[in-house]
């Protein structure tokens, strides 16, 4: 999602995800600290769609990734219709959403790892509701 945004809306035509080993501008790069099999607390941006979905200021989520938004390009997450909707306790971007779209949310954590039949993840429920509307 970040690479698509960088290429098509930010004018960074050679934007790449570092995991692919391609030449270009690594918008998504290896994290300084791995987030494999980790639990993190994310602060939700007031007024964001994500905060509205959860109805809370912060939530605990599980992660399993080694890549994230390259801090050198942090500015692209708050431009051209995109906004930061969650950060972790280090200040790193952990979720983004579009303000010019009915429902467009990306997370650098995995909500599907904190869900159950009795407590389906609020983000995924909101997504399904938006899809069937």
């Amino acid at each position: 999602m970040l690479v698509e945004h960088a290429r098509n809306l930010m004018g960074i035509e050679n934007a790449v995800h570092a995991e692919y080993g391609l030449e270009g501008t690594a918008i998504v790069d290896a994290l300084a600290c791995s987030l494999v099999e980790t639990e993190i607390t994310v602060d939700l941006a007031p007024g964001s769609r994500l905060a509205g979905i959860h109805g809370e200021a912060s939530v605990v989520e599980r992660t399993n990734c080694n890549y994230g938004l390259n801090p050198e390009f942090a500015h692209i997450a708050d431009a051209k219709g995109l906004r930061v909707s969650a950060r972790d306790d280090t200040g790193e971007v952990r979720a983004i959403e579009r303000t010019d779209h009915p429902f467009f949310v990306g997370t650098l954590y995995q909500p599907q790892r904190t869900t159950s039949t009795r407590a389906p993840h609020p983000l995924l429920v909101a997504f399904v509701r938006a899809a069937i509307a």
Partner: protein, 90 residues
């Protein structure tokens, strides 16, 4: 009678991978809670112009990159973004 809204899950992980299994299960929970919707798994090898033009009622960009054809996944993201189709990526 209108058909069941189909949500495309773009993911290349094998079904038995823990992240894939968690994704299927989580979407079962969410669809069950809402009471409507159907999940359709789409491998990036299967993405063609028709799928890009009509990715369904919603798009879930699943975990487990690198994808086999990342540019095709990006094409689906562009389609959802420009057509106002709900999208979530994890």
């Amino acid at each position: 009678m209108p058909g069941v809204p189909v949500i495309s899950l773009v993911m290349d992980l094998p079904d038995e991978a823990p992240a894939a299994a968690a994704t299927f299960e989580a979407m079962d929970h969410a669809i069950g809670a809402v009471g409507a919707g159907e999940l359709r798994l789409v491998r990036t090898t299967e993405i063609d112009a028709e799928l890009v033009a009509n990715p369904g009622a919603g798009v879930f960009i699943g975990p487990g990159s690198p994808y086999e054809f990342p540019d095709r996944a990006d094409d689906v993201i562009t389609s959802a973004r420009t057509r106002g189709i709900p999208l979530v990526g994890t």
